[in-house]
Protein backbone atom coordinates (compact mmCIF):
# COMPACT_ATOMS: atom_id res chain seq x y z
CA UNK A 1 0.00 0.00 0.00
CA UNK A 2 1.08 3.57 -0.19
CA UNK A 3 0.73 6.85 1.55
CA UNK A 4 -2.16 9.27 1.54
CA UNK A 5 -1.92 12.90 2.59
CA UNK A 6 -3.98 15.99 3.05
CA UNK A 7 -2.64 19.54 2.91
CA UNK A 8 -4.48 22.40 4.54
CA UNK A 9 -3.80 26.09 4.92
CA UNK A 10 -2.26 26.84 8.28
CA UNK A 11 -4.68 29.15 10.08
CA UNK A 12 -6.97 29.49 13.06
CA UNK A 13 -9.77 27.52 11.37
CA UNK A 14 -7.63 24.53 10.46
CA UNK A 15 -5.79 24.19 13.76
CA UNK A 16 -8.55 22.11 15.41
CA UNK A 17 -8.95 20.07 12.19
CA UNK A 18 -5.26 19.22 12.08
CA UNK A 19 -5.21 18.36 15.76
CA UNK A 20 -8.22 16.11 15.22
CA UNK A 21 -6.53 14.34 12.28
CA UNK A 22 -3.37 13.74 14.30
CA UNK A 23 -5.44 12.42 17.22
CA UNK A 24 -7.55 10.12 15.05
CA UNK A 25 -4.69 8.71 12.99
CA UNK A 26 -1.93 7.25 15.13
CA UNK A 27 1.26 7.13 13.12
CA UNK A 28 0.33 10.08 10.94
CA UNK A 29 3.05 12.67 10.44
CA UNK A 30 2.68 16.42 10.31
CA UNK A 31 4.99 18.57 8.23
CA UNK A 32 4.92 22.35 8.16
CA UNK A 33 5.52 24.49 5.12
CA UNK A 34 5.06 28.26 4.93
CA UNK A 35 1.32 28.81 5.25
CA UNK A 36 0.57 25.13 4.89
CA UNK A 37 0.36 22.02 7.00
CA UNK A 38 0.57 18.59 5.44
CA UNK A 39 -0.39 15.39 7.21
CA UNK A 40 0.86 12.07 5.82
CA UNK A 41 -0.51 8.70 6.84
CA UNK A 42 0.15 5.14 5.75
CA UNK A 43 -2.73 3.62 3.76
CA UNK A 44 -5.57 5.45 5.39
CA UNK A 45 -6.39 8.84 6.87
CA UNK A 46 -9.68 9.62 8.55
CA UNK A 47 -11.13 13.02 9.54
CA UNK A 48 -13.96 12.81 12.04
CA UNK A 49 -16.48 15.56 12.69
CA UNK A 50 -16.90 14.48 16.31
CA UNK A 51 -13.21 14.86 17.10
CA UNK A 52 -13.11 18.34 15.56
CA UNK A 53 -16.18 19.35 17.52
CA UNK A 54 -14.58 18.07 20.73
CA UNK A 55 -11.63 20.39 20.04
CA UNK A 56 -13.70 23.51 19.46
CA UNK A 57 -16.87 22.96 21.45
CA UNK A 58 -18.82 24.18 18.41
CA UNK A 59 -20.85 22.30 15.83
CA UNK A 60 -18.78 21.77 12.68
CA UNK A 61 -19.91 21.08 9.14
CA UNK A 62 -17.32 18.86 7.44
CA UNK A 63 -17.91 20.69 4.16
CA UNK A 64 -16.11 23.69 5.66
CA UNK A 65 -12.97 21.60 5.38
CA UNK A 66 -12.89 22.50 1.69
CA UNK A 67 -12.54 26.23 2.40
CA UNK A 68 -8.97 25.67 3.56
CA UNK A 69 -8.12 22.54 1.61
CA UNK A 70 -5.02 22.78 -0.59
CA UNK A 71 -4.53 19.26 -1.82
CA UNK A 72 -5.08 15.63 -1.01
CA UNK A 73 -4.39 12.16 -2.37
CA UNK A 74 -6.37 8.94 -2.29
CA UNK A 75 -9.95 7.98 -2.99
CA UNK A 76 -12.42 9.89 -0.90
CA UNK A 77 -15.11 8.27 1.15
CA UNK A 78 -17.16 11.08 2.59
CA UNK A 79 -20.37 11.51 4.56
CA UNK A 80 -21.71 13.95 7.14
CA UNK A 81 -19.63 12.49 9.96
CA UNK A 82 -16.30 11.60 8.43
CA UNK A 83 -14.00 11.90 5.45
CA UNK A 84 -11.64 9.01 4.75
CA UNK A 85 -8.75 8.95 2.32
CA UNK A 86 -7.39 5.60 1.16
CA UNK A 87 -6.34 3.77 -2.00
CA UNK A 88 -8.83 0.95 -1.55
CA UNK A 89 -12.15 1.16 -3.32
Amino acid sequence: MSNVFIALQNNEETRPIIEAILADNPGSARSDAPGMVRVDAADRLVIRRETIEAQTGQPFDLQYLHVNLISLTGYIDEDDDQLTLSWSH
Binding site: E12, R15, P16, D32, A33, P34, T56, G57, Q58
Partner: protein
Protein backbone atom coordinates in the same frame (compact mmCIF):
# COMPACT_ATOMS: atom_id res chain seq x y z
CA UNK B 1 18.59 33.02 -17.48
CA UNK B 2 16.78 30.91 -14.96
CA UNK B 3 15.11 32.21 -11.91
CA UNK B 4 15.16 29.84 -9.04
CA UNK B 5 12.30 30.28 -6.64
CA UNK B 6 13.07 29.45 -3.06
CA UNK B 7 10.87 29.49 -0.06
CA UNK B 8 12.26 30.35 3.31
CA UNK B 9 10.38 29.05 6.29
CA UNK B 10 10.57 31.51 9.15
CA UNK B 11 9.91 29.84 12.44
CA UNK B 12 8.52 32.19 15.07
CA UNK B 13 10.66 32.73 18.17
CA UNK B 14 7.65 32.21 20.39
CA UNK B 15 4.17 30.92 19.65
CA UNK B 16 2.06 32.80 22.14
CA UNK B 17 2.17 35.27 25.03
CA UNK B 18 4.19 34.26 28.08
CA UNK B 19 1.19 34.47 30.42
CA UNK B 20 -0.82 32.19 28.09
CA UNK B 21 2.09 29.77 27.66
CA UNK B 22 2.33 29.45 31.45
CA UNK B 23 -1.30 28.29 31.55
CA UNK B 24 -1.38 25.89 28.59
CA UNK B 25 1.76 23.95 29.48
CA UNK B 26 4.51 25.58 27.51
CA UNK B 27 5.14 27.62 24.42
CA UNK B 28 2.91 26.18 21.71
CA UNK B 29 0.37 27.71 19.35
CA UNK B 30 -2.61 28.89 21.40
CA UNK B 31 -6.14 29.26 20.08
CA UNK B 32 -7.67 32.71 19.89
CA UNK B 33 -10.01 31.75 22.70
CA UNK B 34 -7.07 30.94 24.95
CA UNK B 35 -5.28 34.15 24.07
CA UNK B 36 -8.46 36.17 24.63
CA UNK B 37 -9.28 34.97 28.13
CA UNK B 38 -6.41 33.17 29.85
CA UNK B 39 -4.52 35.33 32.29
CA UNK B 40 -6.46 38.43 31.26
CA UNK B 41 -7.70 39.05 34.81
CA UNK B 42 -5.95 42.01 36.52
CA UNK B 43 -4.78 40.62 39.86
CA UNK B 44 -2.08 42.83 41.27
CA UNK B 45 -0.91 46.42 41.80
CA UNK B 46 -4.36 47.87 42.37
CA UNK B 47 -4.70 51.47 43.34
CA UNK B 48 -7.11 52.57 46.10
CA UNK B 49 -9.79 50.24 47.30
CA UNK B 50 -13.20 51.17 45.90
CA UNK B 51 -15.02 53.64 48.16
CA UNK B 52 -18.23 51.66 47.69
CA UNK B 53 -16.61 48.49 49.05
CA UNK B 54 -13.51 49.23 51.15
CA UNK B 55 -13.31 45.61 52.37
CA UNK B 56 -12.26 44.40 48.94
CA UNK B 57 -9.81 45.25 46.22
CA UNK B 58 -11.24 46.45 42.91
CA UNK B 59 -10.98 42.86 41.65
CA UNK B 60 -11.03 40.47 44.58
CA UNK B 61 -11.12 36.68 44.90
CA UNK B 62 -13.01 37.02 48.18
CA UNK B 63 -16.27 38.32 46.77
CA UNK B 64 -17.42 34.69 46.68
CA UNK B 65 -17.17 31.92 49.25
CA UNK B 66 -15.91 29.63 46.48
CA UNK B 67 -12.15 29.09 46.75
CA UNK B 68 -10.03 28.25 43.71
CA UNK B 69 -6.30 27.83 43.30
CA UNK B 70 -6.51 28.60 39.59
CA UNK B 71 -9.33 30.92 38.49
CA UNK B 72 -8.39 30.40 34.84
CA UNK B 73 -9.75 26.86 35.21
CA UNK B 74 -13.29 28.10 34.49
CA UNK B 75 -12.99 27.49 30.77
CA UNK B 76 -15.91 27.70 28.41
CA UNK B 77 -16.44 24.43 26.49
CA UNK B 78 -17.98 26.51 23.68
CA UNK B 79 -14.74 28.56 23.56
CA UNK B 80 -16.61 31.79 23.05
CA UNK B 81 -14.66 35.00 22.74
CA UNK B 82 -15.96 38.16 21.13
CA UNK B 83 -15.36 36.95 17.56
CA UNK B 84 -16.93 33.49 17.82
CA UNK B 85 -19.76 34.79 19.99
CA UNK B 86 -20.81 37.57 17.61
CA UNK B 87 -20.52 35.32 14.56
CA UNK B 88 -22.55 32.58 16.22
CA UNK B 89 -25.26 34.95 17.41
CA UNK B 90 -25.38 36.71 14.01
CA UNK B 91 -26.14 33.35 12.39
CA UNK B 92 -28.88 32.66 14.94
CA UNK B 93 -30.28 36.17 14.48
CA UNK B 94 -30.53 35.55 10.72
CA UNK B 95 -32.42 32.33 11.40
CA UNK B 96 -34.77 34.11 13.80
CA UNK B 97 -35.36 36.93 11.30
CA UNK B 98 -36.43 34.43 8.68
CA UNK B 99 -38.64 32.66 11.23
CA UNK B 100 -40.42 35.93 12.04
CA UNK B 101 -40.70 36.71 8.33
CA UNK B 102 -42.12 33.25 7.64
CA UNK B 103 -44.75 33.62 10.35
CA UNK B 104 -45.70 37.16 9.27
CA UNK B 105 -45.71 36.63 5.48
CA UNK B 106 -47.82 33.51 5.56
CA UNK B 107 -50.34 34.96 7.97
CA UNK B 108 -49.69 32.22 10.49
CA UNK B 109 -50.72 34.49 13.35
CA UNK B 110 -54.28 34.73 12.05
CA UNK B 111 -54.39 30.95 11.78
CA UNK B 112 -53.35 30.39 15.40
CA UNK B 113 -56.23 29.11 17.49
CA UNK B 114 -57.35 32.03 19.67
CA UNK B 115 -56.93 30.09 22.89
CA UNK B 116 -53.38 29.09 22.01
CA UNK B 117 -52.29 32.63 21.10
CA UNK B 118 -53.81 34.05 24.28
CA UNK B 119 -52.16 31.39 26.39
CA UNK B 120 -48.77 32.01 24.79
CA UNK B 121 -49.05 35.77 25.37
CA UNK B 122 -50.15 35.25 28.99
CA UNK B 123 -47.21 32.96 29.75
CA UNK B 124 -44.39 34.33 27.61
CA UNK B 125 -44.71 38.11 27.73
CA UNK B 126 -44.20 38.65 31.47
CA UNK B 127 -41.06 36.52 31.19
CA UNK B 128 -39.30 39.34 29.38
CA UNK B 129 -38.96 40.99 32.79
CA UNK B 130 -37.43 37.79 34.18
CA UNK B 131 -35.03 37.73 31.21
CA UNK B 132 -34.07 41.32 31.89
CA UNK B 133 -33.34 40.45 35.54
CA UNK B 134 -31.19 37.57 34.31
CA UNK B 135 -29.34 40.12 32.17
CA UNK B 136 -28.74 42.28 35.28
CA UNK B 137 -27.62 39.28 37.30
CA UNK B 138 -25.13 38.08 34.73
CA UNK B 139 -23.80 41.61 34.34
CA UNK B 140 -23.26 41.58 38.11
CA UNK B 141 -21.43 38.25 37.86
CA UNK B 142 -19.19 39.81 35.24
CA UNK B 143 -18.64 42.95 37.31
CA UNK B 144 -17.87 41.32 40.66
CA UNK B 145 -16.58 37.93 39.49
CA UNK B 146 -12.96 36.91 39.33
CA UNK B 147 -11.13 35.34 36.41
CA UNK B 148 -11.56 36.50 32.82
CA UNK B 149 -12.66 33.08 31.44
CA UNK B 150 -15.65 33.16 33.79
CA UNK B 151 -16.54 36.84 33.66
CA UNK B 152 -16.31 37.21 29.88
CA UNK B 153 -18.62 34.24 29.35
CA UNK B 154 -21.00 35.72 31.96
CA UNK B 155 -21.17 38.95 29.97
CA UNK B 156 -22.06 37.03 26.80
CA UNK B 157 -24.69 35.20 28.84
CA UNK B 158 -26.04 38.56 30.02
CA UNK B 159 -26.36 39.88 26.49
CA UNK B 160 -28.02 36.63 25.38
CA UNK B 161 -30.67 37.21 28.04
CA UNK B 162 -31.21 40.73 26.77
CA UNK B 163 -31.70 39.29 23.28
CA UNK B 164 -34.25 36.84 24.66
CA UNK B 165 -36.15 39.68 26.35
CA UNK B 166 -36.21 41.46 22.98
CA UNK B 167 -37.44 38.36 21.13
CA UNK B 168 -40.25 38.04 23.68
CA UNK B 169 -41.25 41.67 23.17
CA UNK B 170 -41.20 41.18 19.42
CA UNK B 171 -43.29 38.04 19.78
CA UNK B 172 -45.84 40.08 21.72
CA UNK B 173 -45.92 42.75 19.02
CA UNK B 174 -46.21 40.15 16.26
CA UNK B 175 -49.04 38.26 17.93
CA UNK B 176 -50.76 41.29 19.40
CA UNK B 177 -50.12 45.01 20.00
CA UNK B 178 -48.18 47.35 22.36
CA UNK B 179 -51.12 47.49 24.76
CA UNK B 180 -50.75 43.76 25.28
CA UNK B 181 -47.06 44.16 26.11
CA UNK B 182 -47.95 46.87 28.63
CA UNK B 183 -50.64 44.59 30.10
CA UNK B 184 -48.03 41.88 30.54
CA UNK B 185 -45.96 44.27 32.63
CA UNK B 186 -49.01 44.91 34.82
CA UNK B 187 -49.46 41.13 35.14
CA UNK B 188 -45.79 40.82 36.19
CA UNK B 189 -46.31 43.59 38.76
CA UNK B 190 -49.71 42.65 40.11
CA UNK B 191 -51.20 39.34 38.94
CA UNK B 192 -51.08 36.79 41.78
CA UNK B 193 -49.70 34.02 39.52
CA UNK B 194 -46.54 36.04 38.81
CA UNK B 195 -45.79 37.43 42.27
CA UNK B 196 -43.82 34.45 43.63
CA UNK B 197 -41.57 34.48 40.55
CA UNK B 198 -41.19 38.26 40.72
CA UNK B 199 -40.24 38.03 44.40
CA UNK B 200 -37.69 35.30 43.65
CA UNK B 201 -36.30 37.31 40.73
CA UNK B 202 -36.00 40.48 42.80
CA UNK B 203 -34.33 38.56 45.62
CA UNK B 204 -31.65 37.30 43.22
CA UNK B 205 -30.92 40.92 42.24
CA UNK B 206 -29.46 41.54 45.72
CA UNK B 207 -27.41 38.35 46.16
CA UNK B 208 -23.88 39.59 46.82
CA UNK B 209 -21.89 36.35 46.41
CA UNK B 210 -21.44 36.24 42.64
CA UNK B 211 -21.00 32.47 42.43
CA UNK B 212 -24.15 31.93 44.45
CA UNK B 213 -25.89 34.30 42.06
CA UNK B 214 -24.59 32.24 39.15
CA UNK B 215 -25.86 29.02 40.71
CA UNK B 216 -29.23 30.59 41.54
CA UNK B 217 -29.87 32.34 38.23
CA UNK B 218 -28.10 30.39 35.52
CA UNK B 219 -28.10 26.90 36.95
CA UNK B 220 -31.25 26.58 39.05
CA UNK B 221 -33.81 29.16 37.90
CA UNK B 222 -33.01 29.02 34.18
CA UNK B 223 -32.40 25.28 34.46
CA UNK B 224 -36.02 24.84 35.56
CA UNK B 225 -37.72 27.75 33.77
CA UNK B 226 -36.43 27.10 30.24
CA UNK B 227 -37.23 23.38 30.04
CA UNK B 228 -40.65 24.09 31.56
CA UNK B 229 -41.69 27.10 29.49
CA UNK B 230 -39.93 26.58 26.16
CA UNK B 231 -39.49 22.80 26.29
CA UNK B 232 -42.85 21.73 27.69
CA UNK B 233 -45.31 24.61 27.23
CA UNK B 234 -44.29 26.00 23.84
CA UNK B 235 -42.63 23.12 21.99
CA UNK B 236 -44.82 20.38 23.40
CA UNK B 237 -48.25 21.44 24.62
CA UNK B 238 -49.00 24.56 22.55
CA UNK B 239 -47.42 23.09 19.42
CA UNK B 240 -49.70 20.06 19.71
CA UNK B 241 -52.69 22.41 19.81
CA UNK B 242 -51.77 24.15 16.56
CA UNK B 243 -49.24 26.65 17.96
CA UNK B 244 -46.21 25.63 15.91
CA UNK B 245 -45.82 29.25 14.79
CA UNK B 246 -45.07 30.21 18.40
CA UNK B 247 -42.39 27.54 18.64
CA UNK B 248 -40.78 29.11 15.57
CA UNK B 249 -40.66 32.47 17.32
CA UNK B 250 -39.00 30.98 20.41
CA UNK B 251 -36.62 28.68 18.52
CA UNK B 252 -33.62 30.70 19.72
CA UNK B 253 -34.48 30.20 23.39
CA UNK B 254 -34.66 26.41 23.09
CA UNK B 255 -31.45 26.18 21.11
CA UNK B 256 -29.62 28.69 23.29
CA UNK B 257 -30.58 27.02 26.54
CA UNK B 258 -29.32 23.62 25.41
CA UNK B 259 -26.05 25.18 24.24
CA UNK B 260 -25.41 27.50 27.19
CA UNK B 261 -26.19 24.68 29.66
CA UNK B 262 -22.88 23.18 28.57
CA UNK B 263 -21.10 26.28 29.83
CA UNK B 264 -23.10 26.40 33.08
CA UNK B 265 -22.49 22.72 33.81
CA UNK B 266 -18.77 23.04 33.11
CA UNK B 267 -18.42 25.93 35.61
CA UNK B 268 -20.35 24.10 38.33
CA UNK B 269 -18.26 21.01 37.72
CA UNK B 270 -14.92 22.82 37.84
CA UNK B 271 -15.78 24.56 41.14
CA UNK B 272 -17.22 21.41 42.72
CA UNK B 273 -14.28 19.25 41.67
CA UNK B 274 -11.80 21.73 43.18
CA UNK B 275 -12.69 20.91 46.80
CA UNK B 276 -15.30 19.33 49.02
CA UNK B 277 -15.89 22.71 50.64
CA UNK B 278 -16.86 24.17 47.26
CA UNK B 279 -19.04 21.16 46.52
CA UNK B 280 -20.88 21.52 49.82
CA UNK B 281 -21.42 25.24 49.23
CA UNK B 282 -22.82 24.69 45.74
CA UNK B 283 -25.01 21.80 46.88
CA UNK B 284 -26.40 24.05 49.63
CA UNK B 285 -27.14 26.84 47.16
CA UNK B 286 -28.75 24.41 44.72
CA UNK B 287 -30.94 23.00 47.47
CA UNK B 288 -32.05 26.41 48.70
CA UNK B 289 -32.73 28.01 45.31
CA UNK B 290 -34.28 24.87 43.84
CA UNK B 291 -36.93 24.88 46.55
CA UNK B 292 -37.68 28.55 46.02
CA UNK B 293 -37.69 28.25 42.22
CA UNK B 294 -40.15 25.38 42.33
CA UNK B 295 -42.50 27.36 44.58
CA UNK B 296 -42.26 30.35 42.24
CA UNK B 297 -42.79 28.35 39.06
CA UNK B 298 -45.78 26.35 40.31
CA UNK B 299 -48.34 29.12 39.68
CA UNK B 300 -46.76 29.87 36.28
CA UNK B 301 -47.01 26.20 35.35
CA UNK B 302 -50.64 26.25 36.44
CA UNK B 303 -51.28 29.33 34.32
CA UNK B 304 -49.77 27.61 31.30
CA UNK B 305 -50.90 24.02 31.73
CA UNK B 306 -53.96 24.05 34.02
CA UNK B 307 -54.51 20.66 35.60
CA UNK B 308 -51.77 18.97 33.62
CA UNK B 309 -49.15 21.14 35.36
CA UNK B 310 -48.03 18.78 38.19
CA UNK B 311 -47.26 15.92 35.79
CA UNK B 312 -45.16 18.10 33.48
CA UNK B 313 -43.41 19.85 36.37
CA UNK B 314 -42.47 16.48 37.86
CA UNK B 315 -40.79 15.59 34.57
CA UNK B 316 -38.84 18.86 34.52
CA UNK B 317 -37.71 18.35 38.14
CA UNK B 318 -36.61 14.82 37.41
CA UNK B 319 -34.46 15.98 34.50
CA UNK B 320 -32.98 18.81 36.59
CA UNK B 321 -32.17 16.50 39.51
CA UNK B 322 -30.48 14.10 37.10
CA UNK B 323 -28.39 17.03 35.84
CA UNK B 324 -27.41 17.91 39.45
CA UNK B 325 -26.58 14.29 40.25
CA UNK B 326 -24.35 14.08 37.19
CA UNK B 327 -22.44 17.13 38.39
CA UNK B 328 -22.32 15.76 41.93
CA UNK B 329 -23.95 18.77 43.54
CA UNK B 330 -27.15 17.38 44.96
CA UNK B 331 -26.90 17.08 48.71
CA UNK B 332 -29.01 15.07 51.11
CA UNK B 333 -32.43 16.69 51.20
CA UNK B 334 -32.76 18.45 54.53
Amino acid sequence: MTVELKTVAITPLRHTFTHVAALIGGDKPASRYQEAVLGAQPDTNFHYRPTWDPDHELFDRKRTAIVMREWNAFKDPRQLYYGTWTMGRARQQDAMESNFEFVEDRGLVARLPHEVAERALDVLLPLRHAAWAANMNNSAICAYGYGAPFTSAAMFHAMDHLGIAQYLTRLGLTLSDPARVAAAKQAWLAAPAWQPLRRLTEDTLVVSDWFELFVAQDFVIDGLLYPLVYGVVVDDVLAAKGGTAIAMLTAFMTEWHADSAKWVDAQVKVAATESDANRALIAGWVRAWRGRALEALAPVAKLALDDEAPGYVAGVIEAFDARCAKLGVIGPVA
